[in-house]
């Protein structure tokens, strides 16, 4: 039986409580929200904190306020179920509701929070295993070892960003509010991440993600597509988030952000730039999808083969853009698009 290692649990009622608990216990403590990512990792001994500071009892962080016109503020302790079912979010930012509703299973969405999904640990076939499995094969650098088992000559960790909501929030220009010992700051979500499978968050472990701030909808149209083996219940092995601002038949600006192809969500900047000022024709979509697949460089460390995941980047970007353009969905390949 896989059991949790022993720890003391300190349930915070306010953000101030949580900061104080973290100050009191220094590096021995970790923050926990829904626990659906941390507890399995603790059972596999990826983390063994002596103190857990629970955030789910902080009522002020569990809700959604605002409107399409003003933008939304989503408390970090809001469950994924609530984000997925919120009528304002569904209308204004359907890609976010879709992404939240595609995370894991109904039970885990009732427990897991959007803050937890934004901060979810990176994943790798050689990391998300029990202690005995990892010991038998030889530990990797992300935990207990000193080499990367995916790319043995690499000095860095390539574990994969596996959040569904993070690429969408990035594409929408969301910001996050972070409270720390030195006060609070509101930063663009893309600056929350680092391109490192171990140290993947650009925040200190004692800093608390308290809120996600979405801008006014302002004509934004968005889509999220997720590749996974089972339709019911899997981490993404590719996520494609697209957000466009469209005026008439022209794209004013667009952002394409890829999930699960690197240790952080990866914006396809060159592809995004191709969209601005143009009509969303099948030809443009084919060119953008081709450009978007360039920064997609998955390695052989999640489900499916990595060449397939790279190939599917182009297919999924095509599908997402065609959906937003109102063109027939799901072309079989890029040639089919180009031939129309």
């Amino acid at each position: 039986m896989l059991r949790l290692p022993p720890f003391a649990y300190l349930g915070a009622r306010t953000v101030g409580d949580a900061l104080q608990f973290m100050r009191d216990h220094g590096g021995d403590a970790m923050l926990v929200a829904g626990g659906t990512d941390l507890y399995p990792n603790m059972k596999r001994r990826q983390f063994e904190p002596s103190v857990l500071v629970g955030l789910r009892g902080i009522r002020e962080l569990g809700g959604i306020s605002g409107s399409a016109e003003s933008g939304f503020a989503i408390g970090s302790q809001t469950t994924l179920t609530r984000v997925a079912e919120h009528s304002g979010i569904r209308d204004a930012f359907p890609a976010l509701a879709t992404a939240a509703g595609l995370v894991s299973s109904p039970q885990l969405r009732n427990m897991g929070t959007i803050g937890g999904n934004v901060c979810v640990d990176t994943r790798c076939n050689y990391y998300n295993q029990t202690y005995q499995w990892r010991k038998a094969i030889g530990f990797c650098m992300k935990k207990d070892g000193d080499i990367c088992l995916v790319a043995p000559s690499s000095r860095r960790c390539w574990a994969v960003s596996s959040s569904d909501t993070a690429p969408v929030l990035w594409s929408l220009g969301a910001r996050v509010r972070v409270h720390g010992p030195g006060g609070e700051r509101v930063i663009p979500i893309e600056t929350l991440y680092r391109d490192d499978g171990i140290d993947y968050l650009a925040k200190r472990p004692d800093e608390i993600l308290t809120e996600i701030v979405l801008p006014p909808v302002n004509g934004t149209r968005c889509a999220y597509l997720k590749l996974r083996r089972r339709g019911s219940f899997d981490f993404p092995v590719l996520g494609v988030a697209v957000a466009l601002r469209i005026d008439g038949d022209r794209v004013l600006s667009g952002r394409i952000v890829l999930g699960a192809v690197a240790p952080q969500p990866r914006e396809a900047r060159e592809a995004s730039a191709l969209l601005a000022g143009h009509r969303l024709t099948p030809e443009l979509i084919a060119a953008v999808a081709e450009a978007a697949s360039k920064p997609s460089k998955p390695l052989d460390n999640t489900d499916f083969t990595h060449p397939y995941r790279k190939k599917m980047t182009r297919v999924f970007v095509t599908r997402a853009l065609r959906r937003l353009a109102g063109l027939p969905d799901s072309p079989r390949n890029d040639a089919e698009v180009a031939d129309r």
Binding site: P5, G35, S105, P106, Q107, N110
Partner: protein, 160 residues
Amino acid sequence: MPKTLLRLRVNGEDHDVAAATHKTLLEVLREEMGLTGTKHGCELGECGTCTVLVDGQPVLSCLALPIELEGREVTTVEGMAVGGRLHPLQQAFAELGAAQCGYCTPGILLTARALLAENPKPTRQEIRTALAGNLCRCTGYTKILDAVELAALRSTGGEP
């Protein structure tokens, strides 16, 4: 590890339980309270067999801490039959043989109960979506879906 005294409300009754903080709800239900109807499967949130209801919502007891659940209403499969009378879902599962080894059944019954409480006449697709987090490794899901449909039909007055 010192034990903490907790008051848990399970199946409509308050229970005072002494357990170490790091024991999951699954462990406390089974090992401290003797409620072994809740099954342990993968213990990592991947199979759904340990599902219980918290305030009517399906959650995984293998990843829930009792200390976080004080004041909440926990329902396990033992709380489904009332006064020796099976819940309509249990009756339908028994009649249609919607269990083979039965290990996933408690979790599926509770998840289906939460669905029917919110949506008394679900479509087949809505049942599939609601049960997406509950794996059955014996066989297909056809009889399970049939049984949920039958229970829904009976509960809404359409006794076949």
